[in-house]
Symmetry: C2
Subunit: 312 residues, 2 copies
């Protein structure tokens, strides 16, 4: 019997669960809005319900275990979430112990950026590579690094905090309190903020109609329809992404950079300018490194989480 694994992607907005086969196939999915107000115990209950949904009718003996991806910082070996900025009350939560007790299955905890990187490594756009960087660009910027055939960990497993590298010391203020973090310059949030600023100054743009609801997806749609302000915003976003990606090339020397997260819905629009930026800013031996879209889309996280407990 093929072992199956359960992957959980715990986010500030949604909790997702999936039942994943040994070949990476998504056999069942379920998701719910994160009960942020209810605190950790309520969310652990939600996870229990989602697990029940995706495993309905499945032979318990076929289940290898549960992998959980969570925003950090966390202590994977202790199985404890140390804090989640977007979820109040999530401080020192022993989620692995709680879930092990609730589900009676082995549970493994991993940083969400690293988890998604592992998903793309095993079943997605990083398959077969020894060196690649997964970058997720949405509310913030996160990711995970595969280097020399292994997950790059570093002290306290904190390597790969790519969203908080400074790419513009005089730049935008970041949620972390500093200025010019890559995340503050190039996340979906940053693109949305800039778009609203520009739209307010340019009533002739189709973007202006969205008012306060203007976010990255509307920018991409307007760019596809030929709106010049939107096209300019896309070029700006590609350049900001490019600065950070070039740094990742120089620092990690990946064979490939994989872009995921909400902003990758505009990947086709962003890609030409990102490549142009790399060709002019990277040192010659790094200029041919491909930048590709995540192959698992929004499922990198749940699939990667499942990989944590799937047999090799």
């Amino acid at each position: 019997m093929n072992p199956l694994a359960i992957g959980i992607d715990l986010g500030g907005t949604q909790v997702r669960a999936a039942l994943v086969g040994a070949d990476g196939t998504l056999l069942a999915r379920a998701a719910t809005r994160t009960d942020a107000a209810g605190g950790p115990r309520a969310v652990v209950q939600q996870i229990g319900q989602l697990v029940a949904e995706v495993t309905a009718g499945v032979d318990p003996d076929a289940l290898a275990g549960v992998g959980v991806c969570s925003p950090g910082p966390l202590d994977g070996s202790a199985g404890v979430v140390l804090g989640i900025p977007t979820l109040p009350g999530w401080v020192d939560v022993p989620i692995v112990a709680w879930l092990t007790e609730a589900l009676r299955l082995p549970v493994v905890l991993e940083n969400d950026g690293v988890g998604a990187a592992i998903g793309e490594w095993r079943f997605g756009a990083g398959h077969g590579l020894s060196d690649f960087v997964y970058v997720t660009v949405s509310t913030g910027i996160g990711g995970g690094v595969i280097a020399d055939g292994r997950v790059l960990r570093g002290r306290r497993q904190l390597a790969g905090h790519i969203g908080h590298m400074t790419t513009a010391p005089q730049g935008e203020t970041c949620s972390c309190g500093n200025r010019g973090c890559w995340e503050a310059q190039a996340s979906g949030t940053a693109l949305g903020t800039l778009a609203r600023r520009r739209a307010a100054r340019t009533p002739s743009s189709t973007l202006a109609a969205h008012g306060a609801a203007l976010e990255a997806p509307q920018v991409f749609a307007a760019a596809r329809a030929g709106d010049t302000v939107a096209l300019d915003l896309v070029a700006h976003e590609a350049a900001e992404l490019g600065v950070g990606i070039v740094n990742l090339l120089h620092l990690y020397s990946p064979e490939r950079v994989v872009l995921g997260g909400g902003v990758s819905s505009g990947f086709d629009l962003l890609h030409p300018d990102i490549k142009r930026h790399i060709r002019s800013w990277a040192l010659p031996p790094f200029r041919d490194v491909p930048v590709v879209a995540a192959a698992l889309g929004q499922n990198s996280g749940v699939v990667g989480a499942a990989c944590l407990v799937l047999p090799g």
Copy 2:
């Protein structure tokens, strides 16, 4: 009999050789001005002479081999230097084959930043650590990364090109042709250039007397004597170093950052401001990471080169 190893540090200005014992002891040293005009064959002859000097009277059976550190890019596994920007004619030089033939000893080639990191790892300020970054700040900025107990390599062994991460997109022009590389902002060369600019505008500073000869060492000397312009330059240099070091913390999560190269002669002056910068710019879990001076000083390279062939 204790095996001994020969380390060669090939630089654009100097070629250095050392005989190193299994415990890292420097038993003999020799150096000469690099015969840049003579081309690769002449320099290989120089290396042969230096090796003869440091091994005079040594039993050939005690020699484990020759490790060579060279500026890159290079192909370590093929034993070929692909190009050295500061040495004309060094394109596709099969230095390992040439030296093996000339010296009749095993020869291993390594990038100079990585080599020095290995020296500090085995016998210096990185001893016993699983994760640390060695940064050499002199004409340029280079380095090497130890991550999860191994040298970080990446595609084509090109990881760790830390000097060419962009830390200021609108910044100084770099030798690589781009703008705002860390090297262009914070190397000894950058500090010297800035110092000459400031001195020209501030004839009252003791720095002004140096004219075109003003470089980083004179800035440190003047700062130690209390010159306010020099002190301001030191603060500026520390801030520029700090931006890059904070990025290294976020990206690699080292247990320690080790600073070597010429500029580290001002380490005691730079350190307080570097630490201050880290405390205000790094994410909380990274703020306590120590920044220390290289323990082997100018010998990190030759000792590291010797480590390449010293038995484990």
